[in-house]
């Protein structure tokens, strides 16, 4: 091991193992905990009290040292008022060299606005349909203009 390429190779080798995939989840949960602790201004002890866990357990999660259960993750996420969902990392399918993808994402971003909201204002649940309709109308208008030109 002499340079950064060797490091990437070692990470890539580890990523290609089942342990690597599992470790991604641990790192993602640890990052979520750290970000939320910072955002809320909480200590690890405060989180432990809220989640009815022991402080060393929280430390273990932050260090990605604990092979947590979904029950444990649920208690932590509930205490932090965070919802997450597991999504497939499509970037890794396209580029096997991607050393870090999104294995677990917040469904509620740190700024407090749930997904589907923009700048704190709730979007219409049909906003996607509205965009599609606008695109269809634009295409129709263009086709009509071309027909008139002929």
């Amino acid at each position: 091991m002499n340079n950064h390429k060797d490091i990437l190779k070692a990470i890539e080798d580890f990523d290609s193992t089942p342990q690597g995939r599992g470790f991604d989840l641990r790192l993602d949960l640890a990052d979520i905990i750290l970000r939320r602790l910072k955002a809320k201004g909480w200590t690890q002890n405060q989180l432990a009290a809220k989640a009815k866990m022991k402080a060393p357990q929280i430390t273990g999660l932050i260090h990605s040292a604990t092979n947590w259960t979904t029950e444990t993750a649920g208690r932590i996420l509930h205490a932090l008022d965070v919802k997450v969902k597991l999504v497939e990392d499509v970037t890794s399918a396209v580029s096997p060299d991607a050393s870090r993808g999104v294995a677990m994402t917040l469904s509620r971003p740190i700024n407090g606005h749930p997904v589907g909201h923009k700048n704190g204002k709730k979007r219409s649940p049909n906003h996607r349909h509205k965009i599609d309709r606008a695109l269809q109308n634009a295409e129709k208008a263009q086709a009509a203009q071309e027909a008139r030109g002929r």
């Binding site: 091991m1 002499n2 340079n3 950064h4 490091i7 070692a10 990470i11 080798d13 580890f14 990523d15 193992t17 342990q19 690597g20 470790f23 790192l27 990052d31 750290l34 910072k38 430390t59 273990g60 932050i62 260090h63 990605s64 040292a65 050393s99 870090r100």
Partner: protein, 129 residues
């Protein structure tokens, strides 16, 4: 003069001395992959966001990087004037217990002396800075 070479980029660039490279090389491949993966995650996010948890200040502005699941530790310091965006890993070791041993303290003091005396330089390919 200790030479360091770039290891991992990101919000925090990590540069390592030959000593750290050697110690990394000695690690078991699974531990090495796992350690480097978590280290890269820290670099991507910026060490400053992991301070107090995974990146811990010892004394004399010398920091220790370590993860609870392993006894492997890297010690080093932020390069002055980089606003903590560049970290120089100067030494690495496998710790033996909860408390710092005399040898561990010596390592930290030696690293602090290197930082204080600016007795290190970055090597980029054939260039030196």
């Amino acid at each position: 003069m200790v030479e360091v070479t770039e290891a991992i980029g990101g919000a925090t660039e990590l540069w390592l001395s030959d000593k750290v490279w050697r110690e990394l090389k000695r690690l078991d491949s699974t531990v090495k992959g796992r350690f480097l993966k978590q280290l890269k995650r820290c670099c991507d996010g910026g060490f400053v966001n992991y301070e107090g948890m995974l990146v811990v200040c010892e004394w004399s502005e010398v920091y220790r990087i370590g993860f609870g699941w392993s006894l492997f530790r890297i010690i080093g310091f932020y390069e002055d004037g980089t606003n903590k965006t560049r970290f120089i890993g100067m030494d690495a070791y496998l710790k033996h217990g909860q408390k710092l041993s005399a040898a561990d303290r010596d390592r930290i003091n030696a690293t602090a002396a290197i930082k204080k005396n600016r007795a290190w330089r970055k090597v980029v390919g054939n260039e030196q800075s």
